[in-house]
């Protein structure tokens, strides 16, 4: 594609370096102010359970909205048209899913000083098999998720600088910074940088919206184009489209709510009130983020017609470059956006990495491999394994797979399998441990096999079929095997509500 790229100069690189150094600075300041955090899992991984409304909100925001939302969603809207409007309500569904379990889980977290989601499984089911399976599912899902972010960092830097900064250099630069500030300040660093990154992203996206409307024409112009050339993009989703819509709402609602790093943030809240207020703000964010990037994608239909799937993946880069070419104000606004997108990806990646390390520290190494180890040692092992995992993933990211969407679905399909154990376990004392294990395992295998073999039923996502199977096995299995009076009493005592 032949086009003038506005970011190919020094300003793009400059803003990246500035963002990078701010993140590093946050890490160093956090480290100097909280030197004691490297002796305690709670201090390091949960910020000492002290996150207030604003920081908690932005850190939730960063876990759920990534640079992928900004770079990957407009191309989907571009290809699917208004059918992709589903991206707005599906982010609201996450909050609906939280209502199912967050209130009680917060109480449990407080009562038992929980640090990781798997720790709750250990407490509730007292089963090595369940805890380890759940931990592996989470680690695998998180690994995939992290990989997706690394690929996105590379594509973002490469795409938005028009190739001036190569993919690999972008990935390495930010991965090194992320590891350093994460290592220095733990959850505090991550949450503070999330706040900065969230604000930069929001500002940048709004400027992109304004620029798109000014220079490419608003929604009415795009609608005229669609009416003339691709009326199906204005159409009401029917048949498979409708099933897909419904599936996305359920899959992403439950899936994103049970993200291990999202669950962990419930434990990090300073108080119930802070948690409630953060969720309440999150309920409105889809309109300001998913909604805005959706409009940008729709405007793209008119601005750059007839792109192939591969070309459309670069849509945001093309639009931002064209807008930046107009005048100095937009030029700098797009530079800000450019930094904001990368920062948002980094902020999602750092949350994922921190949770990844915490599962290794607490649930695998700390519970089974070396329970006698000091917290300091557990922390160190978690950090080191995290760094090693990033190293492997960076290597994989060198050869990024297809479009972003496919890997996105794959991680959900596995992470969602912990939902029945998590949610039912909080309320149903008669839930049987063996049924939970069998359900989780069967659901995972079913969803993975279906995905790998390319099988699909009724157009619903494979993860949902796995989840359904998982749920049925949990419920029916618990009824058939029936828990002993002792176990039921124990479960009741653990929950204690």
């Amino acid at each position: 594609m032949d086009m003038e790229l506005a970011f190919s100069g020094w300003s793009g690189i400059l803003i990246l370096v500035i963002y990078g150094f701010i993140m590093l600075g946050v890490g160093i300041v956090t480290y100097l102010r909280n030197k004691g955090i490297h002796q305690s899992l709670e201090e390091y991984y949960l910020g000492g359970r002290g996150l207030g409304v604003m920081v908690l909100f932005f850190t939730f925001f960063a876990t759920q909205y990534s640079g992928n939302t900004v770079v990957g969603y407009p191309p989907s809207a571009y290809r699917q048209g208004f059918e992709y409007l589903v991206s707005v309500p599906f982010f609201i569904m996450i909050i609906v899913a939280y209502l199912l379990f967050a209130p009680r889980l917060y109480s449990m977290g407080k009562k038992y000083k929980l640090v990781t989601p798997a720790q709750w499984f250990e407490k509730r089911f007292k089963s090595k098999a369940v805890t380890i399976l759940a931990s592996f599912l989470m680690l695998y899902g998180l690994g995939n998720y992290l990989l997706e972010q690394l690929v996105a960092i590379g594509q973002g830097v490469d795409g938005l600088t028009g190739g001036t900064v190569p993919y690999q250099v972008g990935v390495i630069f930010f991965v090194v910074i992320m590891i350093i500030y994460g290592w220095l300040g733990g959850m505090r660093s991550v949450a503070y940088t999330d706040t900065m990154q969230g604000i930069a992203l929001l500002l940048g996206v709004f400027m992109l919206l304004i620029g798109s409307i000014v220079y490419f024409g608003g929604l009415p112009t795009s609608a005229d184009y669609m009416q003339a050339y691709s009326p199906e993009k204005l159409g009401i989703p029917e048949g498979p489209g409708l099933v897909n819509w419904f599936g996305m709402l359920v899959l992403i609602g439950i899936g994103a709510a049970v993200y291990p790093h999202a669950i962990q943030r419930i434990f990090a809240a300073k108080s119930e009130r802070a948690l409630k207020q953060s969720f309440s703000r999150m309920a409105w964010m889809p309109f300001l983020t998913a909604g805005v990037v959706f409009i940008i994608g729709i405007i793209g239909i008119n601005a750059y017609p007839d792109l192939s799937t591969g070309e459309s993946e670069q849509l945001v880069g093309m639009m931002a470059s064209a807008i930046a070419n107009q005048n100095a104000l937009f030029y700098w606004a797009m530079i800000l956006l450019f930094g904001g997108v990368i920062a948002a990806i980094v902020s999602t990646a750092d949350s994922v990495l921190l949770t990844f390390s915490s599962i290794v520290s607490n649930d695998l190494y700390g519970s089974y491999i070396n329970p006698e180890a000091s917290e300091q040692k557990k922390l160190l092992v978690g950090k080191l394994v995290g760094v090693a995992a990033v190293g492997i993933l960076v290597w994989v990211a060198w050869y990024p797979p297809g479009t972003l969407y496919q890997i996105f679905v794959l991680k959900f399909e596995l992470l969602i399998q912990i939902a029945p154990a998590l949610i039912l376990g909080l309320y149903w004392n008669r839930l049987h441990t063996k049924a939970v294990f069998a359900g989780m395992l069967t659901g995972t295998i079913a969803a993975s096999v279906m995905t790998l073999a390319g099988i699909s039923f009724l157009g619903l996502a494979n993860g949902l079929w796995g989840l359904l199977l998982n749920l049925i096995i949990c419920v029916v299995g618990s009824m058939v095997m029936s828990v002993s009076v002792m176990e039921e009493k124990e479960a009741k005592q653990v929950i204690g509500m």
Binding site: F82, I92, V96, L99, F101, P220, T221, Q227, L242, R273
Partner: protein
């Protein structure tokens, strides 16, 4: 103390309303004509979905604020005690 606690999951009314709102954010109930009418470049069916989504967000904010009270009172009391 337990009397004052409110847990959203136990409130049937909340889930009925959320169920209705969920039905409204799925585009299954529109007549074909809703894709031809455009309001500021947005097809009418999509406008309805957006309005339903706004209602869902508003209702969630309400439920979060008034129907989830488990630890709050005790926590507030503790904070006051510290001061």
């Amino acid at each position: 103390m337990n009397k004052a606690t409110k847990e959203p999951i136990k409130n049937v009314k909340v889930w009925i309303i959320l169920g209705v709102l969920f039905a409204m954010i799925n585009p299954w109930y529109f007549p074909q004509s809703f894709e031809e009418i455009l309001i500021y470049g947005i097809p009418l069916w999509a406008v309805v979905i957006i309005i339903a989504s706004l209602l869902l967000s508003a209702y969630l904010s309400y439920v979060l604020k008034y129907h989830w009270v488990i630890e709050e009172e005790q926590e507030e009391a503790e904070t006051k005690g510290e001061k």
